[in-house]
């Protein structure tokens, strides 16, 4: 790579002079410590080429994944980028169990306060602070994990619905009034499109933190937070992939909250749906429609959404905060391909700013 400068002498004789490319220092990547890459599991991302799509670049630019500081996907007429410049889970880094995890049979769990029912295929975690690590809950047609204590951690586990939990409650389920501060990380939660009276992937959790999880193929909601009470608990979901729901005909939201009090933080996630939410997904829905309250400072930001044709997603976000001083909601800096969006990008009373269509490289109007 060189710079060739044409020169001309006083007598009209031409020549050229060349220079190497100038050295341009890259400032520290502003996203490096924010977008989740730092603690992501090694391995190939599940949807590594998802954004290598000619739809997500300006005309004349080769399809590719253009991360910071590339300017290739910049739209000078809008001042926006067609693609997120930050790393996206499932695309730029993998999610799920960390490599090297040696999975164990759920029946082998031996932790005080943790009850294992081999015949019922259920593990009930009743010990506060218990850590359930490296368990393959997909064995034997599927096991459930019931959380009935606070500060439990589920890490590097594999869940998948099957014959044993078809038609039952969620495979990771909670006592929805007293159990808070659950952490689920580096885990696959696969609903396998199993139908039933209640088939959310995760249900009745009363506030939780999710990190680096692949949450997919539920017939009903992917994450369902329920319970009662006016003491707000945090729902903190970051660096996770929400992939396909409702394909078996259910009404499947990516997140739904019930009749309790919540504060939501939803950042740096991927929602990727290729179609088929039976009765229309309502996306990440955190509002008061089910009798709950949404209080404090709520934020849904830096998420990436790819909706294939027929995804049947009514809206991607719904964030409605309850009235009262200090209750705020913000939906900002999200990137979306809304091909399969059949109503609105976002609903609710939250502010909506700097959300970008990956199809146009322009801001999605607020609603």
């Amino acid at each position: 790579m060189t710079l060739t400068i044409p020169v001309i002498a006083a007598d009209g004789a031409p020549s050229t002079v060349t220079l190497p490319d100038p050295v341009v220092n890259s400032p520290a990547d502003p996203w490096a410590s924010l977008d989740g890459r730092a603690n992501a599991p090694a391995g190939t991302p599940q949807f590594a080429t998802l954004l290598n799509n000619p739809k997500y670049v300006p005309a004349g630019v080769a399809p590719g994944r253009y991360l910071w500081p590339s300017q290739a996907a910049f739209n000078p007429s809008t001042g926006k980028y067609y693609q997120p410049q930050f790393h996206v889970p499932g695309v730029d880094y993998a999610v799920g169990p960390r490599p090297g995890t040696v999975f164990k049979d759920p029946s082998a769990i031996s932790i005080p306060g943790v009850t294992v029912s081999a015949s019922g295929h259920k593990v009930t975690v009743g010990a506060a602070g218990a850590v359930i690590s490296g368990i393959d809950f997909s064995l034997d047609g599927g096991w459930q994990c019931i959380i009935s204590a606070a500060n439990v951690t589920i890490t590097d586990c594999n869940f998948m619905s099957g014959s044993n939990i078809s038609g039952m409650l969620s495979m990771l389920n909670g006592d929805n009034n007293s159990n808070t501060n659950l952490t689920v990380q580096y885990t696959v939660l696969n609903g396998a499109d199993v139908t039933g009276s209640q088939s959310s992937v995760v249900g009745n959790i009363r506030g939780a933190k999710f990190r680096y999880c692949l949450i997919e193929n539920s017939n009903q909601d992917l994450l369902d937070f329920g319970g009662s009470g006016s003491t707000a608990v945090p729902i903190d979901v970051q660096y996770c992939v929400f992939h396909n729901d409702g394909k078996a005909g259910g009404h499947a939201d990516w997140i739904q909250v019930g009749g309790a009090a919540y504060t939501i933080t939803l950042k740096f996630n991927l929602a990727y749906s290729v179609g088929g939410s039976g009765s229309g997904s309502q996306g990440w829905m955190v509002d008061t429609v089910n009798g709950g309250t949404v209080v404090g400072a709520n934020e849904m930001a830096y998420n990436t959404i790819v909706l294939g044709a027929g995804a049947n997603v009514n809206f991607c976000f719904s964030l409605t905060t309850s009235s009262g001083s200090g209750n705020t909601g913000s939906i900002h800096d999200n990137y979306a391909d809304l091909t399969g969006n059949n109503d609105a990008f976002a609903k609710g009373n939250a502010t909506k700013t700097n959300n970008v269509s990956m199809l146009t490289g322009a801001e999605i109007p607020g609603f």
Binding site: P6, D11, S15, V17
Partner: protein, 105 residues
Amino acid sequence: MTDTFNVTAAYDKPSYNQGDTITATISGDDVLTQTFQGQIGPLAIPVVSADGAQETVNLPATTVTVTQATPESVVIDTTRPIVDSSPTPRTWTVSANKLSITATA
């Protein structure tokens, strides 16, 4: 007549931060070498001896070659494009005196 360019270019800084103005300046000259041929003579040189006798020495005509090297100024040729072969080519602007170009890092 030959032109020998002794022109170099240099950036004004060893490195730049994004958004900085990059300036590259040319310096040096072009040496124009020209060769002239001419004739000397014929010559008739009067000589005189110590006793006053006079004579004339004749030299025949001869051809001589004169080489002249002349430094000439050099500027950027605005009729030809600046070729930036980097993966992300920049837009370069030539200064009014045609001795430097600038772009944004």
